[in-house]
């Protein structure tokens, strides 16, 4: 037998199967999907539960999914906290550091943990302090800024 012809035949057959497999449509109906998942080693019911929990957690921790009403309410409450405009830069910085530490201990890591306060204006510092005071009050974290 011509060995080269035999080799071509193997290649032709393998290629025909490759082409055939590329033509199979993906599983589409609920029944096909379920069957395919089970054959591939998945538990469809467990996947449903995992998917529900995963997306629920993702949405719950994502600020993009907070409604504009909730944001408006939070802004109103933050504005109820007085800004310490009369405080010196040193007082503002110390108070921010103190509140950040209190929030961290209380398990409410403030988002400004890595910000360089020295680069911010006094006005920015006053706003940050206002938001931290709001966060601490809302989270029930005890703090005392009487020492500035």
């Amino acid at each position: 037998m011509d060995e080269n012809k035999s080799k071509r035949s193997d290649l032709d057959i393998a290629n025909e199967f490759d082409r055939l497999f590329n033509e199979i449509p993906e599983p589409e109906t609920d029944e096909e999907i379920r069957e395919f998942l089970v054959e591939s080693g998945y538990d469809p019911e467990a996947l449903k539960a995992q998917g529900r929990e995963f997306v629920h957690n993702l949405i719950a921790t994502n600020w993009r999914f907070v409604s504009s009403n909730e944001i408006d309410e939070a802004v109103t409450k933050i504005d109820e906290v007085p800004t310490r405009k009369e405080w010196s830069r040193s007082q503002l910085t110390k108070a921010i550091q103190k509140l950040s530490a209190a929030l961290t201990i209380g398990g409410k890591q403030p988002s400004l943990a890595f910000r360089n306060l020295e680069e911010l204006t006094d006005s920015d510092l006053a706003v940050i302090l206002q938001e931290l005071e709001y966060k601490a009050r809302a989270s029930g974290v005890d703090f005392d800024l009487s020492q500035g």
């Binding site: 193997d10 290649l11 057959i13 054959e39 997306v55 949405i59 993009r64």
Partner: protein
């Protein structure tokens, strides 16, 4: 993110969709070649799906509700991400020459290119001629392995055997519709068998490749 889009994402039936997305990702994964039989970077169908959902919900990948259905969008991103993963250096590093492309037409081009370089030895350096012969030998070995895997996958399963032999014996062309007519079975049933055959054969081939390393 605007209110309408947020609402659509919030109201989307994620619980029902998640298994569909995992099935789709698994389907695409099974149709690609992976070095050592696994995805690079420890990825799985589930991690890819979760990553795509996260990117969509956080706006990292921007779904435009005006331009199409969310399920179609998610599938498109999943397919795109898996393709990138298959083409990534991490996957290519260990993939054999014979499995670089899943497209048989590309295999043919590579095969022909190998033959052409071989029939013009005066143009090829000894090293190039040697590589061409090795490439052709690898293609042949790969084809034999694919056929052996198919035969093993269908062994003892008459519903798969009749498909494999119909094609390998040249009794029927390699198209699901033609197989449906030839075997007198509904196309859905043929597609279902073909999925099982592809998955089994692929598993056997990967195990054989890993075993010979």
């Amino acid at each position: 993110m605007d209110e309408k889009k947020r609402q659509l994402l919030n109201d989307f039936p994620w619980e029902e969709t998640y298994p569909k997305l995992v099935a789709f990702a698994e389907w695409v994964i099974q149709g690609k070649n992976w070095s050592s039989g696994v995805l690079p970077k420890g990825q799985t169908a589930e991690t890819i799906v979760q990553d795509v959902i996260t990117k969509t919900l956080t706006g990292k990948r921007n779904w435009d509700p005006e331009r199409g259905d969310l399920l179609d969008w998610l599938k498109w991103v999943i397919k795109s991400d898996i393709s990138h993963l298959a083409e990534s250096a991490a996957n290519k590093r260990d993939v054999r020459l014979d499995s670089l492309s899943n497209d048989p037409a590309v295999d043919q081009i590579e095969y022909k290119a190998g033959r052409e370089s071989r029939v013009r030895p005066q143009d090829a350096s000894p090293e190039e001629a040697m590589i061409a012969v090795e490439t052709e030998d690898e293609l042949m070995a790969s084809a034999r392995l694919k056929i052996d895997s198919l035969l093993e996958a269908c062994s003892g399963k008459p519903e798969l055997e009749e498909i494999v032999y119909a094609i390998s014996d040249g009794k029927c062309s390699a198209k699901p519709q033609d197989l449906s007519k030839y075997l007198g079975r509904p196309i859905k049933n043929i597609n279902q068998r073909l999925r099982a055959l592809r998955r089994r054969a692929s598993k056997i081939r990967i195990e054989a490749e890993n075993g010979r390393e």
